[in-house]
């Protein structure tokens, strides 16, 4: 059974996208994606280029789960979702999502993110997941305000990119908010026979 088939068999499969663990030989490619192109400027590294070993340590530290998002059709890699900085005592963790194509809307990555959030709330007793978003990326998520998440924190002029300062947004997806939201869409997102 190949890795894609194994992932789908492990309950992380959707109708349009599925999630699978990062393969050992895949890290170099992920490093190159994060340190080049639009993702390098607008992603978590904000234009810096750490050495590969430092990047790998940084990405592994505190990571609870990480999956590549792939399209069912063609098995094309679309993005990456990560759960990190889990605080089991207080019941929260941080979520990160990145799309490998930053030039267009990425609804398939968002579907993968939905599968991942459901996975996180199903596997662990978190009551809330946080998502840190720089102001220059917030338009990718803004329609979810009040439906999928609440903005619980905002740091003014926290980032600098392309000649201007941007706020930093701390979004929170609570379990209570997630359940009805997912309930509306699960049947369309989850592969038949699951959910």
């Amino acid at each position: 059974m190949d890795a894609e088939a194994a992932a789908r068999g492990n309950g992380l499969g959707g109708r349009e996208v599925y999630l699978r663990a990062v393969l050992p030989g895949e890290y170099e490619d992920l490093y190159l994606r994060e340190t080049s192109g639009d993702l390098a400027r607008r992603g978590g590294l904000e234009g810096t280029t750490p050495a590969f070993e430092d990047w790998l340590k940084q990405r592994s530290a505190g990571s609870l789960a990480r999956f590549v998002v792939l399209a069912v059709r063609g098995h094309r890699r679309l993005g990456l979702v990560t759960l990190f900085n889990a605080d089991m005592r207080n019941g929260h963790a941080h979520l990160a999502v990145s799309s490998f194509d930053a030039t267009r809307p990425s609804p398939l990555v968002m579907m993968g993110c939905g599968l991942f959030i459901e996975y996180a709330f199903s596997c662990w007793p978190f009551h809330k997941l946080y998502l840190d978003v720089a102001g220059y990326n917030i338009e990718r998520f803004s329609s979810g305000q009040g439906k999928l998440f609440e903005t619980e924190g905002r740091l003014k002029d926290h980032h600098y990119l392309e000649g201007r300062r941007w706020d930093h947004h701390i979004l929170a997806v609570s379990r209570d908010r997630w359940r009805p939201y997912w309930g509306r869409y699960a049947s369309a997102v989850v592969a038949e026979g699951r959910g």
Binding site: E16, R104, L108, M110, F141, S143, L148, Y185
Partner: protein, 90 residues
């Protein structure tokens, strides 16, 4: 006979309802959405809104191809409410 302008008195059947559904996705007043509204530039459609629209098209209009087209092929900035209706919901 096809109307020359979408959304007018001779709007295609179902377009008004589709326009209202778009407004519901965005949680805005339906008066703010017209068939000529561009999804990205006028209505600020983001990735989450495209997910909701894709699911609407799949479940209510049995249209399966919009999601893949948005992800891979379409010039999303050129999409209007009316063009999506014509292409995927009518």
């Amino acid at each position: 006979m096809r109307p020359e302008t979408l959304g007018g008195p001779e709007a295609p059947e179902g377009l008004d309802r589709f326009t209202a559904e778009i407004a519901e996705i965005l949680d805005v007043d339906p008066a703010e959405v017209s068939p000529e509204s561009r999804l990205v530039d006028d209505l600020d459609f983001d990735s989450l809104a495209f997910v909701e629209l894709s699911i609407l098209l799949m479940e209510r209009y049995a249209s399966q191809n919009f999601l893949a087209a948005v992800s891979d092929e379409l010039d999303v900035r050129a999409l209007t409410v009316g063009s999506v209706f014509e292409g995927y919901a009518s």
